[in-house]
Symmetry: C2
Subunit: 336 residues, 2 copies
Amino acid sequence: MTATVHRFPQRQASLDPMIALVAGDLNLVNAVILDRMQSQIPLIPELAGHLIAGGGKRMRPMLTLASARLIGYEGTRHHRLAAAVEFIHTATLLHDDVVDGSDLRRGRRTANTIWGNPATVLVGDFLFSRSFELMVEDGSQKVLKILSSASAVIAEGEVNQLTAARKVDLGEERYLDIIGAKTAALFAAACRISAVVAERNDAEERALDAYGRNLGIAFQLVDDAIDYVSDAGTMGKDAGDDFREGKVTLPVILAYARGGPDERKFWKDAVEGRRDSDEDLARAIELIRATRAIDDTLARARHYGQRAIDALGPFGASDAKAAMVEAVEFAISRAF
Amino acid sequence: MTATVHRFPQRQASLDPMIALVAGDLNLVNAVILDRMQSQIPLIPELAGHLIAGGGKRMRPMLTLASARLIGYEGTRHHRLAAAVEFIHTATLLHDDVVDGSDLRRGRRTANTIWGNPATVLVGDFLFSRSFELMVEDGSQKVLKILSSASAVIAEGEVNQLTAARKVDLGEERYLDIIGAKTAALFAAACRISAVVAERNDAEERALDAYGRNLGIAFQLVDDAIDYVSDAGTMGKDAGDDFREGKVTLPVILAYARGGPDERKFWKDAVEGRRDSDEDLARAIELIRATRAIDDTLARARHYGQRAIDALGPFGASDAKAAMVEAVEFAISRAF
């Protein structure tokens, strides 16, 4: 009997194997994206293109494409669907930037600061509608069900997060609910739909769903940690952005839960917007270190990463599988 | 040979025959709406319910239901689809209020003034996703195509309108494009989908589409006129709201096109936000009267109303047809 036991490597993992795996397909997906964001109204491709061409990794379409490789799908339907997934994601980002009043994303000015909130909301609506048109063209009832349900879950997660904003006592469970809906649901759907178009069995569908879902949570938790450890500019985000915006992420939740009355007071003030100086950030980082909040946020991320990798158990060894495993390692290792 | 020639009556027409025609069905649609706007996140039904329960006429679902009656459809699929149409409409209204920064709708405070723009954008997204879930549950590929395409057209129309905002020389043709997309596309789809679920032929589908589309344009043009003639409070809108917001509607387009240099200067100033006093409104109404801009806006509306009625030609006489004809007359007669 041979067991396959995965251990996270100490080395820096890379997304390159996945990028190489799907490069040809991704060009075709990009062609669909560029074609379908066009409109007779020039503002639409202009605004949408700013974000779509703006240096995103195309993580979700890559997952659709890699999943299709993993299961040996040889058709082309997933190109259009990967574009639909990216449109849903882009629409969400546009609305997120309006909701958060963000100035920067991926190191560039956000669409709302350039074209204003009204145009940004409406172009988001357009891309969202376009994504449904793409799915309808594909014609799979099951894919439509998966992606329309994911979209509703994302919107619910966004409202949940908004309701929870500036609540320092949010708690880990509700936070996991929020990122499960906001981030992981679309990762899961992006992977799952490849099994659907390839007409694989329910077990493979669920395996790919689980891979995407757990990877999505791991990604988000590592993002949360990076905000308190990066020197600057990682992912186009400065260290301390989350802190200055009073975002309640897992490092804060853990540091708050583990702190004494003084520390809790500090976190409450910070989350409610009364502490956003450089000194406050320095103290926050110090408290997070003292409570091991980053270490344990990353431990949680590794837990979900491990589950993502184990979800691939049903699939035999292949380049695709190796690339998908290393993508998880990459997600985790970004924090080191 | 017997010809049926319609003449708009001088009397005040009523929506009551259509309301009576669909009352039973509409209760079932309302039950779907109430059920499907629920969420574990309490803010969602709270915010959505404010608008959904807020005195709208349910014009679009009524059109779906009346169209089904017209063609003798005896199933129940259209209840869920009528709810989906209303969700698309509600999502659009929520985003519109954010985009326009409106304080009042149908005489009540808008959701954005009560819960803020972020929650209003996100609950709109939720309702939009829910509408797709409802359509996917129904399962008709053709209905999905019609409604996803209508949604994209609506969003394009909204962006088109935003791009055109405060342009006094917009012109009638582009204005008709905008309201054709923003308003009439969903009216058309609401009617058309009943023919699809009833599996009627293409001619009947197109007839219902044309009825809805022309009625939608007529409705919007009459709304535009009412803003310059109503004393107060008709449709929860005060006379002069459009004027004070610098909206370029057909009465303004006609008055501008027909005015001399002084009048054009006045309209340009008004549309660009430099004239919003009571005296300015009085002058605007005077100019509109002098140029016959209201009369001719209503003449245009009657033209589209006539086309809507003629589109029903393929269908034999029935209570449903009479109610649908009177609904057009009602749309027109609101201005008298």
